[in-house]
Point group: C2
Chain length 294, copies 2
């Protein structure tokens, strides 16, 4: 039996480090391991001074596989005799038991929290693995897929006719994060997010561009620092007018003036990940986050 | 001060229920609340027989806001005198303390796990809120954005010239989940995921379509049950040949034959969410999951 597992990309960061000395961290689950991974990354981010080697093993759904994983954990002790760390969300009691007997620090929010939830809810948990990323409500799932379709068709001003169906329309100059933010809003939160690029022509006018003019209440601006924009644009078109400091400064100033003139909420995305941009937009606008796939 | 917070879409499911009797669950965080929400959904999914009303409040980063949230929690007791449930990832000790004094069952993996991690790691945690969804490694972040750009350009067979740069190419008949799966692979795992639709013309041939023929090792097939495909296609083009049971059955059979003939791994996505499809593809192919944004 072959267990596919994979080391995360932070390996490359540590190319010049002694890997054998690095603390090994496993993210384990009966299901997709998305919960274990998300929680695990949050916990490890609280120790920014340390380096970790992380390994995700999803779909641990037989005793045989759990035993193999446990053996792999036991081999994970490093040269300094430091135990591995395991962040696991194992719902099946038998599999949980096998993993919990590994030689490691085991952090399992299911083991800690489910009994406390059972006590207050007065029912037993189902002990089902991998249920949180299943389709539980098909119609809600369909509307999430619809949101993705909408956001794709309405990316980068591609189509503007159905803006009246949108939940939000992101605007901004080229390379301020509009497209990934829209896709994240659609995928994670089920929102129909269009985006419209502000062009130089748009900047010269005191009135809003025609396609977005009727939808002022749904507009949300993105902006970024000029240095960051130059860096990003240099990757695409090095040493061009497009990626010059002068042009980037001009476009950012013009876009921000547009936001102010028309009283459009906006966000500076310079240090933000896609997740943070999306969460802040939702917070700022009061839009609903769709429950993911429960 | 106005706290924006939002009820999730499951409200609509419960339109005919007495909301005042439903247990209220809060997902709270200093940061995006993505970790609290992900963990919270996983925990609640273990109680499929119960209904919950969930509310996410991100960016709780001042004592004033934490106090207002705590007061809101205290008002969240339902008509049956049941306490609310709080799933929180609060890194700041002062804010954590304010939230923890609320009248609720408080589940905070940071409170439980950080001390255990500090003990084994022999360093103190940074107590920084919202760090897990910040950009920590710009070059890794850039390559994630590149993956999104790549997947957008190479969606639905749109461009096929740069398939040699892809990490994976999903194939399948229309509406088997190729596009959302590719976007998720790009957004969450930083993978350059192209997709190519299998057309009727392709089905009539014993050899692989020209654009994907040189990349057999990167192909991964999606399929689904005919009934589900009919349902999905009916939403798009009701009562058409495209959405007929006969046509759906024919296309699925032809695609699966193609997968078998050319020894292409494939997945039946009928009951799977986008998250599960993506996680299974990565597991099946041994591709690397990029660390998200830590």
């Amino acid at each position: 039996m072959n267990i596919t597992s994979y080391f995360s990309d932070n390996l490359s960061i540590m190319a010049d480090m002694n890997l054998a000395n690095t603390r090994l961290v496993f993210f384990l689950s009966n299901g997709t391991a998305i919960t274990a991974e998300t929680l695990g990354h949050s916990l490890l981010a609280q120790f920014p001074m340390l380096h970790f080697r992380t390994k995700t093993i999803p779909f641990i759904n037989t005793e045989e596989k759990a035993t193999l994983v446990s053996e792999e954990i036991n081999r994970g002790i490093n040269e300094q005799d430091e135990l591995p760390i395991v962040i696991a969300t194992m719902a099946d009691p038998n599999l949980k038991k096998i993993i919990s007997q590994s030689k490691a620090l085991i952090l399992d929010p299911f083991a800690d929290f489910l009994p406390r939830l059972e006590k207050i809810l007065l029912v037993e948990s189902s002990n089902l693995g991998g249920v949180s990323h299943r389709i539980a409500n098909p119609s809600m799932y369909e509307s999430r897929i619809d949101a993705i379709d909408f956001s794709l068709v309405h990316d980068d001003g591609g189509k503007t006719r159905n803006y009246d169906e949108s939940d939000i329309i992101l605007i901004g100059v080229s390379r301020t994060g509009k497209t990934p933010s829209c896709l994240y809003l659609a995928l994670q939160f089920g929102l129909k997010a269009a985006n419209y690029p502000i062009t130089e022509e748009d900047m010269e006018s005191d009135i809003l561009p025609v396609p977005i003019r009727p939808f002022k209440d749904r507009l949300y601006g993105l902006t970024t620092d000029a240095h960051r924009l130059v860096n990003i644009r240099q990757e695409r078109r090095p040493n061009s007018r497009y990626s010059s400091m002068e042009q980037c400064r001009f476009e950012i100033r013009a876009a921000e003036e547009m936001y102010h003139r028309h009283n459009i909420h906006y966000l500076n995305t310079t240090t933000m990940s896609v997740e943070e941009i999306a969460a802040r937009i939702v917070e700022d606008t009061g839009l609903h986050r769709m429950k993911q796939s429960v």
